[in-house]
């Protein structure tokens, strides 16, 4: 039983480490802000979650608070990291940065107030609400 737990914990931790590494490579090599933030959020949730789960299999939920604290860190990361990512992307969009596309054409939801073709009500609301 202990061997099975060890192997499972090892697999989870190495998978989490590989996901962290992938998110770092994406953060360095992707072409614009939004894709880079996407890559970073992958490591924040999946990489950290898998590593913490692997450690939790070793610690166990005993009475010495080690496992409890691991669960606390995991829950806290799972709540705050998407919130921070969302705030970051919204700030970048409201600042007028354009999402990268392969052929250079703008996407539907560009946040340019001078663009007459822009009629996405959701984006308009987000922009006006963000400036209020």
């Amino acid at each position: 039983m202990s061997l099975v737990l060890d192997i499972l914990s090892w697999a989870l931790m190495v998978t989490g480490g590989v996901f962290c590494l992938l998110s770092g490579v994406g953060l360095l090599r992707f072409p614009d802000v939004f894709t880079r933030i996407h890559a970073a959020s992958l490591g924040d949730t999946l990489g950290a979650g898998l590593i913490l789960l692997g450690l939790l299999l070793q610690a166990g939920l005993g009475a010495d608070l080690v496992g409890i604290k691991l669960v606390l860190i995991l829950v806290f990361l799972l709540f705050t990291s998407p919130v921070a990512t969302h705030a970051l992307v919204q700030a970048a969009l409201l600042d007028g940065l354009k999402p990268w596309t392969r052929d250079g054409r703008p996407t539907e939801g560009s946040l340019n107030p001078d663009d007459p073709a822009e009629d996405d009500a959701f984006i308009r609301d987000a922009r006006d609400g963000g400036r209020r």
């Binding site: 770092g24 604290k69 970051l88």
Partner: protein, 100 residues
Amino acid sequence: MEATASVFVLVTMALALARAVRGPTVYDRIAAVNAFGTMTVLVLVLVGFLTDRPEFEDIALLYGLINFAGTIAVLKFVKYSSLAGPQEPRPAAPRAEGRR
């Protein structure tokens, strides 16, 4: 096995640091620093398990809290040039007596 995961996480920290130095926009830098902070939490937990010192988990928990609050604070500072929010001329509220 904690050592393997630690090496992966440390390499990720180096990559995020490179993006934070290079990043053309300020949002690149904030995203990189946020990822760096998350990886710091992981390194703290892993080192705590490697050296068999569970106190490191408290530091990791606190670092996660500070990382989130710091990211939001820096974003707000970048957006409004002030931590107090948008600077609009506001009508002066009538001051309640006896309140500071």
